[in-house]
Each structure stands twice: as C-alpha cells, then as structure tokens.
Symmetry: D2
Subunit: 478 residues, 4 copies
C-alpha cells in the first residue's frame, strides 16, 4: 500500500540533509528541534489520519490504482472537492494549525491544467512529465510543498524591472541536462518537512521568460538554504514549560527558501519560458489555495470557539447570555466561511486535462471572507476570555513551592475547573490568537494565497458586471 | 400537460371572488388594480418561466409522472435543492422581486416531513391527505401561499396567554364536516394572487391544541378578508407616470389575511391539535424559507448591482476605481449569500418521508447573512448613485413643454446616456432601496421567515458547541 | 428686536413670487402646498425656537448689537461652535428633519474667511460687502440658502471641460451693473423657503474664471426656476390621511434651482473670477456643513431611537434584553457622531477674518461617521420594529366602519398601547427610514456636503502621515 | 521644585525592596531586569516629559502652589481634562505604550469625589486624609498605581458569595492602628514601578462591608508579592537581539499583586465598610480610565499608522492607492476615538468636591469604540505590511557572516530602505499587534477599565431613553 506511517515519514525527513538556519544557527534536523518539531508532527498527522477510517484522508487514485493520501490527489469529481473542504476542516480542528501539505496539492492540480494547455498550444511535453511526477509522489506517499511566492523586492515593479533580477526566482543557466535556478521563495510553509518542492512562477510577461519556471526539486537538493522564520513567542518552545506554550503538540513553520544555483534536470521541469501560461497558473494555484482556507481555517476556528466556550465555563460564566450571543456570532461567521468553500466545490467544473476544479469566483469569495472573519472571531474570543489571557503567570510560578499555592488560589474561578486547566485554556487561546498560532489563524488568513486585493482583482475578472447591467436594463424595458 | 400559461393563470385569479381592501376600498379584482397588478405579473412570471427552456422552473414530478412547476415540487434530491437556489436567483433577477410562490413550496415540503412523523407517532392519516393535495396542485398548476405568521398580539406572550385568543389563528369550532378557523395571518405575501392557502401554526405547547392547526383553504373561501398593505411610494402606481415608479412591470404585495369563522373540511386538514409537532413544523418551514433567500434576494441584488453600475456609467464615472471597489464589495457580499444557500443544499439530507431537505444550520447561516448584507449593498449602491437619486424631478417635469428641455439639459451627465435613461435608472434603484421594492430587498430580508434572533436561536440548537470544546480539550491532551 | 415670529416669516415667504414646479405644475405658493408645507414649517421652527428661552437659537451679534438667529451668526468663539452642535441636535430632535437654514450659515462663515483672504491678496473689496450682507440678514432675520452643488454633468470632467458649459453655473455676462448667471444648482435644500440664496462656486482652476462666482441672489430674482424633487411616499402628503404620512408636521424639500440669465448687481458679488480662492471656499463650506451633521442627524437619530423604543413597548417587548442591546448600540453610534462634532468645535481655531471655525479634520471625521452610522441605526430600528412596519394597513382601513374594528383587533399588541398609536409609531419610523424622511436621515447623511470619498480626500490633506512616521522612527531610534 | 528627574525616579524604585516573581524566580530589582526595564523606562518617560516644555505634563497645583506632574493632578477645569487627552496621546505616541501612572490619577480623582460625598453623608473624615495624601504625592512626585480589579473567582458570584472569601480583596482584621488586607488585585499595570498603590474596592452591597476598602499602601509594604505576567514574545527581551524585540526601549508590565495580611494604618484609609459608596467609586474610576483611552491608545495607534506607512514605502508601495485608502481608514478610526475623549472632556462637569470630571456617558462611548477600532486598525496594518511581518528571519540571521548577505539581498524591497530598517519596522509592528505591545494596543483596549459589556451597562444608566421617546411622541402630537 502506498500509505506511509507517520513514524516512517518522520524518519525519512529526519534523515534528509537539509540546510536550515534558525536564529543564526543550523538545525541538527527539522524533526527533533523543539521549535520545529510541532510543525513536523502536524505534517505527520496528515499521514496518521490517512491510515484511520472515516477521516476521508485516503482516496483511490486511478493513476496508481490504489488509495493515496488526498494531499497528493488529482481531483476527478466535485465529490473530491467537497471531501477536501471537510478533511481540511478535520485536520485544522485536530491540530489547531491545518494541513501543511495543501500547497503541494494545489500545485499539482494547477499544473495539471496548465501543462495540458501548454502542451496543446506549444507542443511541449510537460503534462506526461507531471503525471509521472504525481504518480511517483502518490506511490511513495511523499510530502510536497508548493513554492510560488517570490520575495518580490520592490512591490511596484515586475520581475524584469527589479534592481536585482534574483528577487524573483529565475533560470540563470540551462544546458542539455536541465536548468539552474537562483532566487528565493518566501513564507515557505512546512517546506523543511517535505520530500519535494514544486516551484511555480509568479505572473510573467513577454521578455520575462527567465522567470517563467515551474519544476520539482527534491528538498535535499544542493544549493538550497532555509532561513527559518521567528514567530511570536517561539522561544517558549525551548523553555521546557509546555503550559506556557499553549499548544505544545502542534504548530507550523515558515522559511525563506534560498536557491543558490540549484540544478534541476529536464524531466522535472513543467514550464520553462512559456510566459503566456503563467497568469493562468497563478490564477489556479492561488484560487485552489484560497478555496482550501474555507476548510482549514474553519477547523482552527472550531478550536478557538471551543476554547472560548470552555474558558467561559471556567470563568463561571457558562450560562451568560451575553457570552452565548458572542459564541453564536463566532459560529455564524465560521460556518459562513465553510459554506463558501462548499459552494466553490459544488460549483466546480471539469477541465480539459480531465480533472475537476473548484469555482474560481467562489474560491475567491471564500478567501475574502477568510481575510476578515477570523479577526472578528479572535476579537470575540478575547472578549469572552477576559483580561487574564494576556496577564497570566507562568508554569514555573504555578509549580513554585511557595508561590504555586497562591497562584492556584487566586486563579481559581469556577470551582469545577482547576486553576491549571483554566491557565492551559488561556494559553491555548493566546497561542492561537497572539502566539505563533496567530501566524496561521490570522496572518495566513489575511495574506496566504494572496492579500485581499488579489481576491478583489480576481473577483472582477471572474464575475463581470454585464449580466447584472443587462438584468437592470431588461427590467426597465418590461 | 400540467403547466399553465401565465395568461390563463391571470384569468383564473381575476375570476375568483376574493375580498380585498386597500385604503378603505374593495379591489375590483387583484389582477387589474394598478397597485396590485405588478405583484400579479410577478407570480405570472413563475408560470411563464416554467414554459421556457433552461430556466429550471419545470421539473418532473414522480407524483404525477410529468413536469410540474418547481414551485409545487416535493424535493427528492440535493440536485432539486441546488436547482432551487438557482431558479430563485433567476426569478429574483428577472423581476426585481422574487418568486412569490415560495412560501407554498416551503409549506408542502415542511408538511411532508411533519405529517409523516405525526402519522407514525399518532396513527393519524395526514400524510396521504397532504400527498393528495400536492398531487392536485401539481396537476392543476395552482399557486399556493404559505400562511404561518400570526399577528401575535403581545409578543412576550404565548398563543394561550393573549388577552384576545384570536391573536393567534385558532380552531373555534369542529364537527364531523371539519373545523372552523378564526384569527389572522400577517404579512401574507402574494396571498391575494394564490388559488390556495396553506395555513400553518406557530409553536404551540400543551393546552394550546386549538392553535395547532395546519390545513389548506381555497383563496375564495367565505369569511376571508384581506387588508392590503401600503408600501412606500405605492401611490405612484396610480399616477400614470411609470418613470416615477421605477419598476412598473413587477412588484410584490402583502396583506393582513383575516379569517372570520372560515370552514375547512377534514380532508384539507393536515394537523389539528398535535402540539408536539408544531415546533418541528416551524423549524422546517422557517429554515426552508430562510434557505431560499440565498437565491431570491441574491437575484434582486444582481439588479441593484447592475443598476448601480449603469448609474456610475451614466454619471461619467464608469472607470472610477473607487466605484469599482464598491461594486466588487457588493458582488462579494452577494455571492457570499448565494454560496451559503448552495452549501445548505449540498449538505441536505434525506427524510423519513422520502424527501430531501436542506441543512438546517446552513439555511439559518444563509438567512443571518441576508439580514445584514442587503443593507450594506443598498448603502453602497446609494453611495455610488450620488445624491440625485433622492432629489429627482418627476416624469411630468421631464415631459413638460417648457420645463422638459431644462430638465433634460441639467440632468444629462455622461453624453452617452440620455437624461431620461439616467432618470429611469435612478428611479429603479430608488424603487429597490427606498420604494416599495425595499419591502423585499431590505425588510423581508430582515424579517421574512423570522427576525435575526430566530436564526441565532436556531443556530444554537443546530450547532452545539460540544465538538468544538472536545477539539480544544483534545489538543491540550496531546 | 431682529427676531421674527414664525408666522411673519411664513407670511413673507408666502408672498414672494417664486417659480416652482412640482410634477409638471406650478405651486401656488411654497407655504401652503401640502407637499411643501411641512418643509416650510420646519424652517419656521428655527424662528419659533429663537423666541423661546433655553434653546440657544438666539445669540448676541456684535455686528448689530442685539440678539440674532444663530442661523445667521458669524462664529466668534469655540462656545459658538459648541452651541451650534447642540442647537442643531435640538432642532433635529424637534422636527425629525433638521435646521434647514444651516447651509446659509455655513456659507456666510466660509465666505467671511475667503473674502478676507481674497481682499488681502488681491486688493478686492469683498469682505466689507459680505459683512454688510450679513448685517442685513441678521437685522431683517432672513432665511438664507447656501447653493454650491452644481449639477456637474459628466462627473469625470472639470467645469471647463463639459460638453455644455452651463453644467456648472457660470457668469455669462458682466457689465458695470453686475453679472449675469446661467446654470443650475442641484439638491437645493429648502431654497424655496428662503429669502436669499448665497451662490457659491465649486473648485475652479486657471482658465475657469467664469465659473468662480460667489454672490447673493434674492429668492424672487427673475430667471430662477425651481424643479421640486419627488421624495419617497410624497403623494401621501396629498391624500388627506396624516396617519399614513408618518410625520405630518414636518419635512424637508429639495429642488433643482435653474438660473436662466439671472442678473446680480456688484454689491452682491463676493468672488468673481478669483479661481485660486475657490478650493479653500469649498473646503470650508463643505467642512462646516459636515461638522453640523454631528448635531442635526444626531437629533433625527434621537427620534429614531425613541420611536424604536416605543414600538418595542407597543409590541410587548419593552423588557427584552435583545432589544435593549440593540437600543444601546444605536445610542452608542449616535453619541459617537455627536462627540465627533463637539470635538471639532472644541478644537476650533481663530481665523484672520476674526471668526472662529471648527477643526477641519475632525469635521470630516464627523461626517465620515455620519455616512455610516445612520444606516446601521436604521437597520437596527427596523430589526426592533418587526415586519409590520412595512406591511401596515392604511388610515382609511383603520377608520372604515366595517373593517376598522378588525384592523384594531388584529393590530393591538401590548394592551397598554392602542392599535392606532402603534400604527402611528410604525408610520413615523417608516417615514424616517423608508419614506421622505429617509432623504435626510440616510441619503443626505451619505451625500450632503459631499460623498464619503470627499471626506477621505480631505482627511488625507488635513492629517499628513509624517508625524506618525516620525513617531515610529523615533521609537526605533531610542 | 516638586518635579523629579527620570534618573532619580529610577534610582528610588531600584532601591525599594519589592517582592516580584517572574517565571518562578525573584527579580533582583524591577528596573534592571531586561524583561521589566522597558516598562520602568516608560514610567520614567512621564517624569522626563514633565521637565520638557510644551508637553503639558506639568501643571500648577493649587494644593501645593507649584507645578506638579499631571499624573498626580486633581482636575479643576475642563481644560485640565482636554489637556489630559492630549498628553496621554503624546506619551502613547512617544512610547508606543502609554502613560503608566494613569490608573493612580484616575484613583485620586475618583476618591476625591467619593470621599467628599461619604464625609457629608456619613460624617467620616476621609476627604481631608485623601487631600493630604495627594499633597504628599504631588510634593514628592511619587508614582502611584490604582488597584481595583479583584481576581473575582467565579464571575457569576458577588464578593460575599465566593467559595473563597479572599477572591475579592478584603479586610481580615482591624484595630486601633489600622486594617489588615488579604486578597489579590489582578492585571496591575506597572504596579512594581510605583511608590504607592491606591487600593480600591469593586462594587459591594449590604453585608459585604469587609470588601469595601479603599486605602493607600506603599509599594514596599510587607506582605505584598507580585507575580509578573508573561507576555507574548517576552523571552526576546532576554535574548540580546533588540531587532527581534521590535520595541526595545519601552514596554509595559502587569502583575498579579497578592496581599498576604498587609497592614494599613488608618490615616491611609479612604473608605472602609461604606458599601453604599462603592458603586459610585467604580463608576467614576472606571469611567475616568475609559476616558483616558481616547488619548493613550490613540497615541499607540499613531505609531501603528506611522509604522504601516513606512512599511508601505519600504515595500515600494508608498504611492499605492489601495494602501492609501487603508491608511486613511486607520486615521479616521483613530481620530474618532480621540474625538470622543475630547468631547467627554468638554462636556465635563464640576463636582461638589470642587473638582471637574469628564462626562460619564461620553467616557463610556469613547471606550466602547476603543474596544473595537484598534482591532480593525491592527488588521489594516497587517494587511498593508504583508505576509513578511510574521515570517521574518532573526537578527542573528541578518548578522550571520555567511547568511547575512543573503538575508539582506532577499529582504531588500524598495532600494531606498535598507533591509535592516525594513526588518526593524516589521518587528515594531509585530511587537505592537502580535507581541507584548498587543497586550496594550489590543487587549487592554478591550478589557482595561472593564469589558465592553461594562460600557453598555453604564451607557444604559447614563443615557435613559425617555427623552428620545418623548421626542417621538412630541412629533406625533404636532
């Protein structure tokens, strides 16, 4: 069977020689370092869930004729898309973070459409190569990242107009064997925990052929360096006080992935210079990813809502009507995001490549709501929690021989909830809304797969106003 | 074929002897009176559309084995539900008002579930009676209203605790032949243009058996009187100046329907005294109707967006970025409502009665958004339109021999749009957001099928917080 | 004493020969026509209040050495400005409409600053002329309109670039006696009830001297024609059913004021061709008027809040916590608008002309909130009122011999409030939020004194970001 | 002169023997510990500013006849109140944190009113004692904390109904010398950096006399223990990487202040058992503090806006219209909060104690906006900043011999802004919105001086609806 145990996955990643710096020092490995381990466990959870019944995380793939992890699936039906929204929510709820292999999933599905179109218009042979790659990652159950976001330098300038041409990743050399890449990809979610990276270009125009490169690169390819990003309260991971961490089990990580003349053989190249296909690739990859936020962020919000509700009880206010109203509003906002993603799935359509993709307009509607509602959900959660969430003593204080009993005495609220549990709930909510979890619940919700303005631009393209104008005109003519 | 032409429908309604008062005077008939005619035409449009291809307004019914109007269809699949969202939007967009037969549709589908359950628990015979009724309305293609909302008197008191027991409609007599009804139903949308009324009870408790009555009443039954409601700017319908009306072709109407000892034979009774089934009936009928607002109000909003966009062009600001951003926001809000309804459809589930119903939680999420977004869409439309929308000269001014040229001169903005067309667009938007169309786009969005608080209460019931609390607990335990 | 009785004011206006068309017909006079009378009474109320103690509507003017109506006062202190916010609120609350002489007040205060500056830089003699004019209107207690908004034609083009040069009002002739004006001013609030119009230009640039005209024109000057605007439900004023009107006593009116070669002698001209002063004039006039909305719209909202609260009681829900929360939110939003205006007053500053003006930035902050909050207040009021507000029977139904008792029976809710009073409250709220009162509470709030974008542009000019950037830099440098 | 240098202030605090635990260990002293030092410097800044001209932080006190720090001033005029809003904003803008002596200021002003009233009704002698205390803190220029918030245990229960009576601080003994206190005060802002604590009670009823205690306690009184709260990313203060901290210079701190049988002599007691005065004390203290947030949080927001604007430039998007619109919205929201506080000041009123206090209703309106707008300002800032803010490499990475040049290369955006400065700006904004600064900009804005519900309750008390209802009734009667 293709499906791998989480343990075996972790062993494989542990064994890879990947160059990662964090706070100026190299990681021994990305699995055991206390700051990175929770993110590794989060990816591992996508392996674990696929081996469990009823999670929907394994599905049969016609490509290899057996069940594969849905993180590597080419979608063949609307049901695949609906299922995705649900398993994304499941993993989000189960980890407080989300399904870290999703960018890779979006990348293979976007490339499937675009390579097919390119082969047809250009006579290239990218699509079969891609299918071979997908077959391999399915068969070997590999974790794949999707690397599109360039560092972009001056944001008002295109790839070809930057002072430093490397500010968008580009091909700096090519020969019979393949191409050589230089540049950097920013905000690379969980890339250090993947077997493979799918490198994708941002939109390029004529004359920017060097930047129009899509390809697969193994994560231990020579020339790749990761600069592991700091996150709020990341040091708590190293302080041996899990209570203060809030969510010790899981987390996420981002890195700046630098390509210092990385060689890629031709059989791993899926686009190279065909600039006219880059916009569609960006449109599809971005929109697929926006779509998935209506599952994964909803799952995180489930945890936020649950934590807020438990804190209300711990505060002795489980029956408060004011608090109940706030919880209802949080649920309403959350289900609205979820509904948008479900709708994008059900309005999906078949592509020439034989796959099925979500409705692009509704995918962007989903994400535009996701750029707003988690912030309000977080604000309402903070409102419910009360001031203590951000003025809390530490685990060491709680466990201090002399101080501990006083901390326990004065942090006990409802007699039914021990002070230590109340503190743990505060820390969990702090983690999700002001700690490193906020990177995902709030910031990635805002900027992941593009800032709000990108959704608006896409909506204008996908939903022209002519039919609405025609409807108004028609009514005046009746 | 069961499907009827709109002309035949109008003839039938015109011929019925229904007692209707408007501003203290009886209507000759509800089809030709200038105030009521646009609402009649709106119902007629549901007949017209069913005869057209590609509208989705006719569908095969297993009950009679031929296509019926979808307004009278018992839903058998999620596809029926998805289709409903789409044809509701179509009719909304086509009329600026919506599908006036929807309450009847919701009533038969709610009764299908509840009569089936009642028969099973009580051994009653309501379900076959209902199916016979549905078969008849399908076969004869009848327009049916759904009459649930009682006038309710003191809102803080239950049916049995009112000073006047008639403030909730009730059974005041019963014999071998049937029951006698007294009371009134409020806000009866298009009831004067229907062949049949489906009377439904609001929630009743033990001791309130007299109020627990569901039955069908022909619209010309003796003892029924309608008091036709005034709407903003309704007099313009009578002033022979269609430009000032804004939307001369279509409209809606509500009436206070008074039952003054109306007899109903037993074969038309679908619930009588079984109070324990009333809450489920209210839950289903309300939620089905809330669900449909994600189609029909979205269709009206399509017209609002189209009119705002045309006005921007007429003002010479078609290319303005500020306005484009507002239009995009309007589209985004509108598609969010639509997405919620689609999601409620796709998450629908089969019932014991053999039908399929939308997801109750998501139906309420849909409507809770509908209580908010149309107001913001209307505000943005007004923002785009500019002050002239509410300070506009009249058609008579425009057509005045001496004044007309001056009005034309000074109301011309973009040279590409004649002043008269610009005025017509302003009036259309005024109609929809401040005129009698606002009754539907704004007020019915807020209160139709229950006020926002009703959705919140339902959401709390449908989405318990335990799973979210469990998720938070589980994360702390990892 | 300068102060006039409201009766005398009405007599004077009744006697003037002003050319006004409404629905294609000339008004006999603007005081007694049922559509216009409520607006006349509203202006009259500013006369009545000035004769009452404790209204703050009369204040001593150094110019004439005796008390004058504050509607004609040149502000000399911050206390004058604070007082203005308060009397605007008072009149708004007292009439449900507002102080219709405010544009004239803003005009004299804006012209005071600009004519002074122009005289200094250009050696013109406008300021003494203006003071003479102000002295006269104070001494004779005249009602003065402020007419700035041109019809503007193609909104993307400047005055000098329109297809028809008259789309901004301009000087089409000049000689020793004075100037001749042609064009039109839009949305002229209460102009038909004024003795004098103060004509002001919009922003003009070099080469647009003909449009840079400020002057005073008596309201009965030959060549002026008013096209009286229709308002939602305006016909109800003529139907002899005051209950259906909602607010029979008061109202507002707008007209399109057309200048067909109107002569103005030089001693009434306050700017003519000095284009470099027009931007400041627009800035001041607009901002003064935006400032006053934090009083007058707040006063209308007071009535909306009061009506909603009374309706809640009439519905039997006076004690509902959900409703109480909504009322509190309405109060909060309303007081926020009020607070902004008070702050603009207290941050006011003296001018070279010896007057005191409100803080321009905070005046715009006030208005930007006013473009938003009344809509939310209206939505909350509708939420509280319930569906009956827009599906209400008419006065004729209520008074009908046979029908009346039924209407009374079924519209009675709380036994403490008669059905007729409940209906009157619904109609009042309908008037303010969907009837002709909505022109003022919602539409003028949005567009009066400029659309939201105008406030944003002004805010950017008035509040540069450099000090904030410097503060951030300074913190990094510590 | 009473005014002290910041250096002398720091020396005095450094020398006090205060018992403080942080992460299970005692602080050597609260001035030099790297986690606490920035908060000490923040208090010191209130001393520094008072010695500078034009800051408004020194003002003459009639009590001692010379200038005192405004943090210890009894307000005598509306100008004092207006000045307060302005110097609060100044200090907020100057420190990114705010004026940490404000709770003490609010405490003396609230006690001035309440002790005066108590003396009059009870014949007690508290007011002269308080004046003597104020005279001393003015003369010695002492930093004073205001300690009201009890830990409160089960939030649904009153002081006298808790399982543990110490969950509200109370008098556990009294004799001729004074009283003995036991309990804890939560969220004690900067208490460890104060010379004196003003202990205030929360609302008590009959039978809860033991909890009705107000008094002054020197910060080094035996029996007091502080548990210093953890804040997001607090460990960065100890990592010797100021760039990663974001705002190395300033910060805030909270502690849980435990009173373990602390003796207080009678001449320091200002209320003891007079439960009927506690509600007014809570009302005044809370409202005064809510009022000040319209200055101090506005000052922090100034920095947030400045940082966002600089980041936009650093990203190369200084001229972007989309970003400009967001900055304008941030400014608008910020000035609205400021305006509310100014209005509360100008509507202030004299008290029987000879002081002047802000308008209580508008103070609560101010704070209710402050519970909302900073969250939206922070969201917009994050939107402008882009994803890099939360995925940034560390200072050590930037300074690493090999890695540093790559980090510099790939984090350079606009060529005009060095990568290191861009990183510093990101870290500053991260600090304010997701780091320990978020405790103040977001959390204290939400919960400080009471949660939003407290403002709503107060608004209902301060602004009865009767006058609005009367206005609606009056209009119907015209």
């Amino acid at each position: 069977m293709a499906l791998k145990t989480p343990e075996r996955y972790l062993d494989e990643i542990r064994a890879r020689n990947v160059r990662i710096f964090y706070r100026g020092q190299r990681f021994e490995n990305p699995v055991d370092h206390p700051v990175a381990a929770p993110a590794a466990r989060c990816v591992a959870e996508t392996y674990a869930a696929a081996l469990e019944p009823d999670t929907g995380m394994a599905a049969p793939s016609p490509l290899i004729g057996e069940p594969v992890n849905v993180s590597n699936l080419l979608w063949r039906s609307r049901e695949d898309l609906i299922a995705r929204v649900k398993w994304e929510r499941l993993i989000g709820r189960r980890t407080g973070r989300g399904a870290l292999r999703s960018p890779g999933l979006d990348a293979i599905n976007a490339l499937a459409v675009v390579t097919h179109a390119c082969d047809r218009t250009r006579g290239t042979g990218y699509h079969p190569r891609l299918l071979a790659f997908v077959e391999r990652i399915q068969r070997e159950d590999l974790a794949v990242s999707g690397a599109m976001t360039d560092v972009r330098g001056d944001r008002s300038r295109r790839p070809g107009a930057q002072a430093d041409p490397d500010l968008f990743l580009r091909v700096v050399g090519r020969d019979a064997g393949g191409v050589v890449l230089r540049g950097a990809k920013a905000h690379q979610t969980s890339a250090i925990h993947c077997h493979e990276h799918l490198v994708l270009p941002m939109t390029c125009g004529p004359g920017e052929e060097a930047w129009a490169i899509a390809c697969a690169v193994p994560s231990d390819a020579p020339g790749i360096t990761h600069v592991y990003a700091r996150q709020p309260s990341d040091s708590r991971r190293t302080e041996d006080a899990p209570l203060d961490v809030g969510l010790p089990a899981f987390g996420g990580c981002e890195s700046l992935m630098i390509f210092d003349d990385v060689r890629v053989p031709w059989d791993r190249v899926f686009l190279c210079g065909e600039t006219e296909h880059t916009q569609e690739l960006v449109r599809l990859f971005g929109s697929f990813h926006r779509f998935c936020y209506g599952g994964c962020k909803v799952g995180i919000a489930d945890v936020v809502i649950g934590a807020a509700s438990l804190i209300a009880r711990a505060n002795g206010l489980g029956g408060s009507r004011t608090i109940r109203d706030k919880l209802t509003e949080m649920v309403h906002l959350n289900e609205t995001m979820y509904a948008c993603a479900l709708a994008a799935a059900i309005e999906g359509r078949p592509t020439d490549a034989g796959t099925v993709i979500p409705d692009i307009a509704l995918a962007n509607v989903t994400k535009l709501n996701v750029t707003r509602f988690p912030f309000e959900i977080a604000r309402l959660a903070a409102d419910i929690a009360g001031g203590a969430m951000l003025t809390l003593p530490s685990q060491a204080d709680l466990e201090h021989a002399e101080l501990g009993p006083l901390v326990t005495k004065y942090l006990t609220a409802s007699p039914e909830v021990p002070a230590s549990e109340r503190m743990a709930l505060f820390r969990l909510l702090e983690f999700l809304t002001h700690g490193s979890g906020a990177v995902y619940f709030l910031h990635e919700s805002l900027h992941g797969a593009g800032a709000p303005e990108a959704m608006r631009i896409q909506l204008r393209r996908e939903i022209p106003l002519d039919p609405f104008e025609a409807a108004a005109h028609a009514l005046l003519a009746r």
